[in-house]
C-alpha cells in the first residue's frame, strides 16, 4: 500500500512538472486530488484496512495529499507569475499616442488678470467698487478736473451717446473708471457728512476710447483704479503702496521707479515703471530697449476732485492709481496684438 502511495505521488508530481497553463492545472487537480483520484480512492478504501495498517497508511496518505496540494499551490503561483510576466511583456502601449482630451471651462484671460490684480489689492485693503459704463461728461470729465476744452481731453477721445438738449453735459462712454471715484466718495460722505470715513477702493471695469482698432489700440479696454482717501495719506504712502503692489504683481525683486507725469485728476502725478521682467532691465524689444515697462499711472488726488467728492481738501488727502490688465498680460505673455482679447478666438483663449 505504501508503495502504491509512493507511486501515485511520483506519477502526479511528474505530470505536474510539465504543466504550463492554468487549464492543465485544473485538469491535474481533478485527476490527482479530485474525488475520484487514485489518492482519494486510498482514503475511500480506508475501512478495509487492519487496525495496525490504519495509522501507518493514514499517515502516509496524508503526507502525499499535503505534498501534492502544496506542489499544486506552488505550481499555480508559478503559472500565474509566468502568465503575468508574459502579459506584461506583451501589453506594451504606444505611450506616444496622444492622451484623451477633456473639454474644460476657463475664465477669459482679461478677467483672470483682473482677478489677480483685485486679489492683491483686496489683501492691501482695497475693496471692489463697480459703477456704470455710460456716464455724463460731468462725471467723466468735469468732476475730475478736466475743464471744457482742456488739452488733456485730447488724450481721451470719447464715444458720445445720442441725446438731445444736453450740450452742457453730454452722455458718453466712460473713458476711465475714475467717475466711480466721485460716486464712491459721495456715497461715503452721505454716510457721515461731518466726518466722512476713509476710503480704500479698487475700481475695475470696461472703458472706452475713440480710437481705430489696430494691433496697438482698441475701442474698449479694462482698467483697474485704486483710490485711497483719508487724513494723512501722503505721496510717500503712494510710493510705498504701489511699490508693494508691484512686488506682489511682478515678483519680490521687482525694481520700480516713479516718473513725474500729468493727469488732470491728480497732483503731483507720476508714471510707475517696473524693471522689464522680460530682459531683467538689460533692454529688449518688449521694453523698447529702455529696460523699463510703464505699468501704472498715479498721483495725489487733486484738491478739486476731493472737493467734488465731498471731502475737504484742507483736511483730507488721497492718492489714486490706474492700470490696464490687458496691457499687463500683453507684456507678461509677449502678446503683440491687442485685438486678440475681444476677438475671442478659442485658440487664443485656450492658452490661458
Amino acid at each position: 500500500m505504501l508503495d502504491k502511495l509512493n507511486e501515485i505521488e511520483k506519477a502526479a508530481l511528474e505530470d505536474l512538472s510539465s504543466i504550463t497553463e492554468q487549464s492543465a492545472l485544473d485538469a491535474w487537480r481533478v485527476s490527482n486530488v479530485g474525488r475520484s483520484s487514485p489518492l482519494m480512492q486510498v482514503f475511500a478504501g480506508f475501512g478495509k484496512l487492519s487496525k495496525e495498517e490504519k495509522p501507518i497508511v493514514g499517515a502516509a496518505a496524508n503526507r502525499v495529499k499535503v505534498a501534492l496540494e502544496s506542489a499544486l499551490e506552488e505550481k499555480t503561483q508559478a503559472v500565474k507569475n509566468a502568465a503575468l510576466a508574459k502579459s506584461l511583456s506583451e501589453e506594451k502601449l504606444d505611450i506616444t499616442l496622444p492622451g484623451r482630451e477633456v473639454n474644460i471651462g476657463r475664465l477669459h484671460p482679461a478677467n483672470q488678470q483682473l482677478r489677480r490684480v483685485l486679489a492683491i489689492l483686496a489683501e492691501m485693503g482695497f475693496q471692489v467698487y463697480t459703477s456704470r459704463e455710460v456716464e455724463t461728461d460731468e462725471m467723466n470729465f468735469q468732476m475730475l478736473n478736466f475743464a471744457p476744452h482742456h488739452p488733456a481731453r485730447e488724450m481721451q477721445d470719447s464715444f458720445y451717446v445720442e441725446s438731445e438738449g444736453r450740450e452742457d453735459n453730454p452722455i458718453l462712454m466712460r473713458t476711465h473708471t475714475s467717475p466711480g471715484q466721485i460716486r464712491a466718495m459721495r456715497e461715503a460722505v452721505a454716510t457721515n457728512p461731518q466726518n466722512p470715513p476713509p476710503i480704500r477702493i479698487a475700481l475695475p471695469g470696461m472703458c472706452y476710447r475713440y480710437e481705430q482698432i489696430t494691433a496697438r489700440s482698441e475701442i474698449q479696454f479694462n482698467q483697474v483704479e485704486g483710490l485711497a482717501v483719508g487724513e494723512g495719506i501722503t505721496f510717500a504712502d503712494l510710493k510705498g503702496t504701489l511699490t508693494d503692489f508691484a512686488r506682489r504683481m511682478f515678483g519680490k525683486d521687482a525694481r520700480v521707479r516713479f516718473r513725474a507725469s500729468y493727469f488732470p485728476f491728480t497732483e503731483p502725478s507720476a508714471e510707475v515703471d517696473v524693471e522689464c521682467f522680460v530682459c531683467g532691465g538689460k533692454g529688449c524689444q518688449v521694453c523698447k530697449n529702455s529696460g523699463w515697462l510703464e505699468i501704472l499711472g498715479c498721483g495725489m488726488v487733486h484738491p478739486n476732485v476731493l472737493q467734488n467728492g465731498g471731502y475737504d481738501p484742507k483736511r483730507y488727502t488721497g492718492f489714486a492709481f490706474g492700470m490696464g490688465p490687458e496691457r499687463q498680460l500683453m507684456l507678461r505673455n509677449k502678446i503683440n496684438d491687442i485685438r486678440y482679447f475681444w476677438g475671442n478666438d478659442l485658440r487664443f483663449l485656450e492658452q490661458f
Binding site: L97, V128, V134, A228, K239, G240, T241, R257, L349
Partner: protein
C-alpha cells in the same frame, strides 16, 4: 519736441554730464525722452549684459576721419561733365576730392577761390550714411576709381552725416569753421525727442528745458542776453495797435527792423533748426522760428512795406478781431480759408492779414524782396487757438504752443529776441521802442507754503528754507517772513493757481525739484475704512466660477454693435445710439448679450465643441438720460458633447438636454430649489418646441433652447443644433436661495426601478411630481433613466422608466419598499392612467 543738446548748452553748463544722464533726469522729472538721435557726438556703447536706457538712433562721427576742410578750387573732371574735382585742404595736407555736388558746381573752372569754402570732409575709412541709398544705410569709405580718377574720401551732405535726409548738395559750413578741427567737436550733436505733457507746455522750448535741468542739477541757468542798438524813427511813430477783445488777445507787441538783406541763415542756425524739426527758409523766417524754439513765443514777420502801401498815407493800424462768419483769408500755404466767428484775425484798416496764432496770410508775408520787417509777438486765448487749428487742420509749431497757453510776458521778450537775431543775420537796423498793447495782464499767483503742508501731502520733512531753495531753482519768487514762505509764480507760468489748488500746484514743483526718487516709501498709517465688501461683484464672480466648473469658456465681447447684427436673433427695440461711431457696424450699444456670444460662436465654428458664456451689461435707452445697464448671462453651446480622440468616434452633438443639465447644475450651485421649466414666448428666435422659460420661486429669470432654424440660417453654423440661454442676473441674484443641506443618512438606501406606460401628452415633470408627492420624504431621489416607444406599447403612448431611491431613518425591508411602490403605482394609475410595465 526735438532738442539739440548743443542749443541747450547755450543756457546751461552741462560739462561732465552725459547725454544719457540728461535724458534720464528729464524723463524722471516728467519730460520723457522717447528717443535720442545722435548726429555726430559719441554714442554710448553697451557691452553684453549692460543696460540700455533709451531708444537710440543716428551716427557718431569719427574724430580723426571726419574733419572741417576748405575747398580752394573747383576744377573740371577730365572724363565727366557732371563731376568736379576739388582742391581741398584738410588742415594737414592738400587733397583732390571728387564730387557731384550741385551747390558748388557753378564754381567749376573759376580758378582759385577768392574765399575758400568750408566743408565737412570724410577721409578714407570713415563710416557715414550712404547718400544714394534709400533710408539710412551705413557705409565705409574705400579707395575706388571713378571715371579714371582715384577717389578715397568725400565732402559730405547732411544725409551722409545723419543731420537730415537732405542729399541735394554738400554742407557749406560757416566761414569761421576752423579747418582741421574734428567735425564732431565743431558741430557734433545729439537730439533729445521729448514728449511734452499738457501741463508742461512752458517747457516746449530750449530755455524751459534748460531751466528744468538747472533745477535738477543745481547748476545755474544762463539767461539769454537780449541787447541791441537801435536807430532811426521809433516804431510807435508808424504803427499802432487796436485789440477789440482782450479775452481773445490779451497782448500784442510789434517791433520794426529796417534794411534787412534776405539770405540763408548761418549754417549753425540752419543745422539747429533742422535738428529741431524746423525747415530753414531764410534769415528772417529762421529768426522767428529760432526765437520761438528758444523761448517758446511764436513770432510772425510781416513785410512792413506791404503794410505801409496798404495804409496809403496813413499810419499803419493793426487791429485784432474775431472773423465774421464766412469771411475768407488766403493763408501762407496758398489755401483759401473760410472762417467762422471763432477764428481771430490780425487785420489792418483795409482787410485781414493773418489767422492769429495759427498761420500768416500770403499778401504780407516776407519774400526775397523784403527790406523792412514788422515783427509780431502776441498772446492768444489757448482754447480759441486750439479750436481754430483743429477746425482748419493746421497743426504747427506756433499753434502747438499757443493752444497750450503761452504767457503774455513772453510776447515782449520774444519780439526783442527775434529782432536781435534778425539784426545779427540780416544786417538790419532795429527801430527804437515797441508798440505794445497789453489790455489783459494776468495776475501772478501767490501761494503760502508751510513745512506742515509739505509733510501732509508729500510725506517729507523740509524746512521753509529748503522749500524756498527748491522752488527758486524753477524761478519762483520766494519770500520768508517769520518762518512763513510766500511763493510767487514766475512770469512764464500759466499753470499755477492760488488757494488750495495753487498749493497742490506748488507742492508738485517741490516734489519734482526734490526728486520723486528721493521721497521715501511708507505704508498708509490712516485707519482702514469700514469693510463692506461688494456682494454683487462677489456673486457674479461665484457665478463665473460655477460656469467654468461646468465646462464653459468665458468670452468678453464688444459693447458696440449694430441693429442688423443683433436682428439676426432678436426682435429689438430702441437702441442707445453712438453719436460718433467708429464704423457703421459699431453704431449702437448692445441690447442682447446673447447676440454677442452667438457671433463669437459663429467665428469659432471650426472648433469641434463650443460651450461659452459671457457675463456683462446690456444697455437700455432712457430718453435724454443715462441708459439702464442691466447685467445678463448668455450661454451658447454647439458641436460635439465631448472631445473626440484617435480611438473615440465623434461624440453626439449638444442638444437641449445638455443645456438643461448645465442650467440645473448652475441653479443648484446658486442654491435654488423651486425651479420650473415652462413653455414660453421669447423675444429670441428659438425653436418653439425645443425651448423653455426658467422660473424660480415663480419668477421668470431666463430662457434657453435651440436656435430657431430660420435664425440659425442667418449664421454660418454647421449642421449641429445651436443651443442658447440667457438669464437676467438682476432677477436671479435677488431671489431667495436655500442653504439647507440634506443630512447624509447612516442607514442604507434601497433602490428600485419602475417602468410605466402612459399617454404621450403627460409630461415627465408631472410624473415626477406625482411620484415625489406620493412617496413623501422616504423617496429621496427620482431618476428617469429611459424613455421608450414602440408598436407593442401602442401609438400615442410612451414608456418612462425610473430609478427610485428610498431612504428612512431605519433599515428598510423589502416589505417596506413594496408598500411605497404599490402606493405610487396606484396613484399613477388613478391620476394619469399609467400602467405598470412588466
Amino acid at each position: 519736441m526735438k532738442l539739440p543738446i548743443s542749443w541747450l548748452k547755450d543756457f546751461i553748463d552741462l560739462d561732465g554730464i552725459t547725454v544719457e544722464d540728461i535724458a534720464r533726469k528729464l524723463t524722471l522729472a516728467g519730460l520723457e525722452v522717447d528717443e535720442i538721435l545722435y548726429a555726430g557726438l559719441a554714442m554710448p556703447t553697451y557691452g553684453a549684459g549692460e543696460k540700455h536706457e533709451f531708444k537710440t538712433n543716428g551716427i557718431a562721427w569719427d574724430k580723426e576721419k571726419i574733419v572741417v576742410a576748405e575747398i580752394r578750387e573747383v576744377k573740371e573732371h577730365p572724363n565727366a561733365d557732371k563731376l568736379t574735382l576739388l582742391d581741398l585742404y584738410d588742415g594737414q595736407q592738400e587733397q583732390v576730392v571728387l564730387t557731384g555736388a550741385p551747390n558748388i558746381f557753378h564754381l567749376k573752372g573759376t580758378g582759385k577761390l577768392p574765399k575758400p569754402i568750408k566743408v565737412a570732409y570724410a577721409k578714407e575709412g570713415a563710416t557715414i550714411y550712404d547718400g544714394h541709398a534709400d533710408g539710412l544705410v551705413l557705409t565705409t569709405l574705400k579707395r575706388a576709381k571713378i571715371r579714371g580718377v582715384d577717389s578715397y574720401s568725400m565732402v559730405c551732405s547732411e544725409k551722409e552725416l545723419g543731420i537730415t535726409e537732405e542729399h541735394e548738395g554738400i554742407i557749406l559750413l560757416d566761414d569761421d569753421a576752423p579747418v582741421g578741427m574734428s567735425l564732431a567737436d565743431h558741430i557734433g550733436d545729439a537730439v533729445l525727442d521729448i514728449s511734452i505733457l499738457p501741463n508742461m507746455a512752458r517747457n516746449a522750448n530750449v530755455i524751459g528745458i534748460a531751466r528744468e535741468l538747472a533745477a535738477l542739477t543745481g547748476r545755474e541757468l544762463k539767461k539769454p542776453k537780449i541787447e541791441f542798438t537801435t536807430s532811426g524813427a521809433s516804431v510807435e511813430d508808424s504803427v499802432s495797435i487796436e485789440i477789440t477783445n482782450s479775452e481773445l488777445n490779451p497782448r500784442f507787441v510789434a517791433g520794426l527792423i529796417r534794411g534787412v538783406e534776405i539770405k540763408p541763415s548761418p549754417y549753425q542756425i540752419q543745422r539747429r533748426l533742422k535738428l529741431a524739426g524746423i525747415r530753414a527758409i531764410n534769415n528772417i523766417v529762421d529768426a522767428t522760428n529760432y526765437a520761438m524754439i528758444e523761448l517758446g513765443e511764436p513770432l510772425h514777420a510781416f513785410d512792413y512795406d506791404v503794410l505801409k502801401e496798404r495804409a496809403g498815407e496813413k499810419k499803419i493800424k493793426l487791429i485784432t478781431r474775431p472773423a465774421q462768419e464766412g469771411e475768407e483769408l488766403v493763408t501762407l500755404d496758398g489755401e483759401k480759408r473760410k472762417l467762422t466767428s471763432m477764428n481771430v484775425l490780425v487785420c489792418d484798416e483795409k482787410s485781414s492779414l493773418s489767422l492769429a496764432g495759427v498761420m500768416g496770410g500770403t499778401e504780407s508775408e516776407v519774400t526775397q524782396n523784403t527790406r523792412n520787417v514788422l515783427l509780431e509777438g502776441a498772446a492768444w486765448n489757448f482754447i480759441n487757438i486750439r479750436r481754430t487749428a483743429k477746425q482748419h487742420n493746421l497743426p504747427s509749431e506756433a499753434s502747438f504752443r499757443f493752444s497750450r497757453g503761452v504767457h503774455p510776458a513772453l510776447a515782449e521778450t520774444g519780439v526783442k529776441r527775434g529782432l536781435q537775431y534778425m539784426a545779427a543775420w540780416a544786417h538790419g537796423s532795429i527801430a527804437p521802442g515797441l508798440v505794445d498793447a497789453y489790455p489783459l495782464k494776468p495776475k501772478d499767483s501767490v501761494v503760502e507754503v508751510t513745512s506742515k503742508e509739505v509733510k501732509r501731502l508729500l510725506g517729507i520733512e523740509l524746512t521753509v528754507e529748503q522749500i524756498a531753495e527748491l522752488l527758486s531753482r524753477l524761478e519762483f519768487k520766494c519770500e520768508i517772513t517769520n518762518h512763513q514762505l510766500q511763493v510767487t509764480a514766475p512770469a512764464h507760468r500759466m499753470d499755477i493757481d492760488e488757494g488750495v489748488v495753487g498749493l497742490a500746484d506748488v507742492l508738485e514743483e517741490v516734489a519734482r525739484s526734490y526728486g520723486f526718487d528721493k521721497i521715501p516709501t511708507t505704508t498708509i498709517s490712516d485707519a482702514l475704512p469700514p469693510q463692506a465688501g461688494n456682494p454683487v461683484h462677489e456673486w457674479e464672480e461665484h457665478l463665473r466660477d460655477l460656469l467654468v466648473a461646468i465646462g464653459m469658456q468665458e468670452v468678453v465681447t464688444y459693447r458696440m454693435t449694430s441693429p442688423e447684427r443683433e436682428g439676426r436673433v432678436i426682435t429689438h427695440g430702441e437702441y442707445v445710439r453712438i453719436a460718433n461711431p467708429i464704423a457703421p457696424e459699431r453704431s449702437v450699444l448692445r441690447q442682447s448679450l446673447l447676440a454677442a456670444v452667438l457671433e463669437v460662436a459663429e467665428k469659432n465654428v471650426r472648433a469641434e465643441s463650443i460651450a461659452m458664456f459671457e457675463v456683462g451689461s446690456i444697455f437700455e435707452p432712457v430718453k435724454n438720460d443715462l441708459p439702464n445697464e442691466p447685467r445678463k448671462l448668455a450661454i451658447v453651446m454647439t458641436g460635439a458633447r465631448s472631445a473626440s480622440a484617435w480611438d473615440v468616434k465623434a461624440a453626439p452633438a449638444f442638444d437641449f438636454y445638455d443645456m438643461k443639465g448645465r442650467i440645473e447644475l448652475l441653479l443648484a450651485g446658486l442654491r435654488y430649489t423651486d425651479i420650473v421649466y415652462a413653455q414660453s414666448e421669447s423675444t429670441y428666435s428659438l425653436h418653439p418646441g425645443k425651448s423653455a422659460e426658467v422660473k424660480i420661486n415663480g419668477q421668470a429669470v431666463g430662457v434657453f433652447g435651440e436656435l430657431h432654424p430660420l435664425a440659425k440660417e442667418k449664421y454660418e453654423f454647421g449642421d449641429a443644433p445651436v443651443i442658447v440661454a440667457e438669464f437676467d442676473l438682476e432677477k436671479l441674484r435677488t431671489l431667495n436661495p436655500s442653504y439647507g443641506i440634506i443630512p447624509v443618512s447612516e442607514f442604507p438606501p434601497m433602490y428600485e426601478d419602475i417602468a410605466i406606460i402612459l399617454d404621450e401628452s403627460v409630461t415627465a415633470s408631472a410624473v415626477e411630481a406625482l411620484i415625489r408627492q406620493t412617496g413623501g420624504k422616504t423617496v429621496t431621489d427620482v431618476r428617469l433613466f429611459d424613455v421608450y416607444r414602440d408598436e407593442k406599447i401602442g401609438a400615442g403612448k410612451k414608456s418612462l422608466a425610473y430609478n427610485l431611491t428610498y431612504q428612512a431613518e431605519k433599515t428598510l425591508t423589502d416589505a417596506d419598499a413594496a408598500v411605497i411602490r404599490n402606493k405610487i403605482v396606484k396613484r399613477l394609475e388613478n391620476t394619469i392612467g399609467a400602467k405598470l410595465r412588466r
